[in-house]
């Protein structure tokens, strides 16, 4: 792979074999409907997609629901396996497909910082070093021992975001996690983004076209019919906006 490329996607296709009426996961369902196998249909989520993301680039993906954005991110994150094609990733990649992955509502905030931080790839020692800073950044210093089911959703998201940004990575995958917290916390988040833009490679998926336009270097527009276009942010956003 060329040196300045962070993510290279070649002829990527992902098909899911799905039964027509939900998935027959119990023997009863298979028994009641022994021919269910014949009713399996191939659903193409991503079709013959190729693109490259350069190192340090802010690359955004836009498109309507069902165009394959989330599937694409899961493929790049290694959660799904491609049906055809290749994905090459150079550098440590951290996916934030959802903030607060693995948060356990019954555990205290502090315990959740450890759990979530380690799930995201930190070592325990690294969490030890950063835990105070995380609570500072999240402005939740006084709530460390409270179980997070008592947190408001805004507080949970703030905590999750503060943990997420401690994870050292070369490539960040962000799925609609920008707009978190109240106005003041949002400012902090955007300040963080301003700081890392250009330093880290960012693959960003959002319906927030304004932030896509503001930050992106290039935009991939996935369409409902599984075709795609790559181009200049304002041009892509403009074209995409005209479809609705």
């Amino acid at each position: 792979m060329e040196k300045n490329i962070a993510i290279k996607v070649e002829n990527l296709t992902k098909k899911f074999r799905i039964p027509e009426h939900g998935s027959p996961n119990t023997i009863q369902e298979r028994f009641v409907n022994p021919f269910s196998k014949k009713k399996m249909i191939d659903f193409t989520a991503v079709n013959n997609l190729s693109f490259e993301v350069k190192k340090g680039e802010f690359f955004s993906v836009i498109g309507p629901n069902g165009a394959g954005k989330s599937t694409l991110l899961k493929l790049i994150s290694g959660i799904y396996v491609p049906t055809q094609g290749n994905i090459l990733v150079d550098g440590k990649l951290v996916p934030f497909l959802e903030l607060g992955v693995g948060f356990n509502p019954d555990l205290s905030a502090r315990e959740n910082v450890y759990l979530n931080g380690i799930i995201l790839g930190l070592t325990k020692k690294e969490v030890d070093e950063h835990v105070d800073h995380i609570f500072d950044f999240a402005e939740l210093k006084d709530f460390q021992d409270l179980s997070i089911k008592k947190f408001s959703s805004g507080m949970q998201v703030r905590l999750a975001f503060s943990i997420a940004i401690q994870v050292k990575s070369d490539i960040l995958i962000l799925d609609e996690v920008l707009a978190v917290g109240d106005g003041e916390f949002q400012k902090k988040c955007f300040a963080y983004f301003d700081e890392i833009v250009g330093k880290k490679t960012i693959l960003f998926v959002s319906h927030g076209l304004a932030s896509v336009k503001k930050y992106s270097d290039r935009v991939l527009w996935l369409k409902e019919d599984k075709t795609y276009e790559i181009g200049d942010p304002s041009e892509m956003v403009e074209k995409y906006s005209q479809t609705f």
């Binding site: 899911f16 996961n25 290694g78 450890y114």
Partner: protein
Amino acid sequence: MNNNDFDLYKQFVKTTFKMRYKGSILGFFWVLLKPFFMFLILFMIFSRVSGSATGLTSQQYAVYLLSGLIVYTFFNEGMIWGMGSIMERAGLIVKINFKRAVVVASSLTMALINFSINLGIVISVALILNIHITFLGLVYILLICFTMFLALYGISFFTSIWLVHVRDLQHIMELVLQLLFYASAVFFPVEMIPEKFRFIVYYNPVARFIKAVREALIYGRITDIKFVLVALVTSIILVVIGSGYFNKHIKKIAEHF
């Protein structure tokens, strides 16, 4: 296994441990209380009958019953928790790519922790009841436990994947394990089974493990060593094949939840 994988493993064990008993007043003591009451019930009902059939004193029968119970419980929990491990972490698996085998290992560790505590208690009880435990016997018991742990680990590599595809396995497994409880001569001596049905015990590895543990614990006798060694080798093979199977099929698991 890198640093993070190991930290993740420890974190999962810690969290599961905390969660399992959180919110209950007696908390962790339930680990001890549940088997204790099980023991009490079985002891009250069967001590006279089973004791006289085997020529065990009631002290010996207490240890006999306890050791059978804890070995069976270890197997039971290992099978159930190992099988459910991937399913249980479905929410995490579809969101982030971490080393999946960590989940299986941490679930089995839970069973191992419970078993270790239980074993400690049984040994203490045996000492209190003046049963002479030999060093060799103890080593043999540990070897048997290690063999069982490996077997559970190997089996879980398969069952944890299968459960995602066929959810019925949960219920089937519970049923099988319940049958196994009776087929393992946990609370009655093998001699009480009519001769023509004894093959059930003979071909049941759990029953033979239990028997070997009992002989070692109560009399300090090393019995059935050929079987234990064959089981050990089989378990190692099972772990190797199982981890291959697991690594091959785990990649696609996120699509099947």
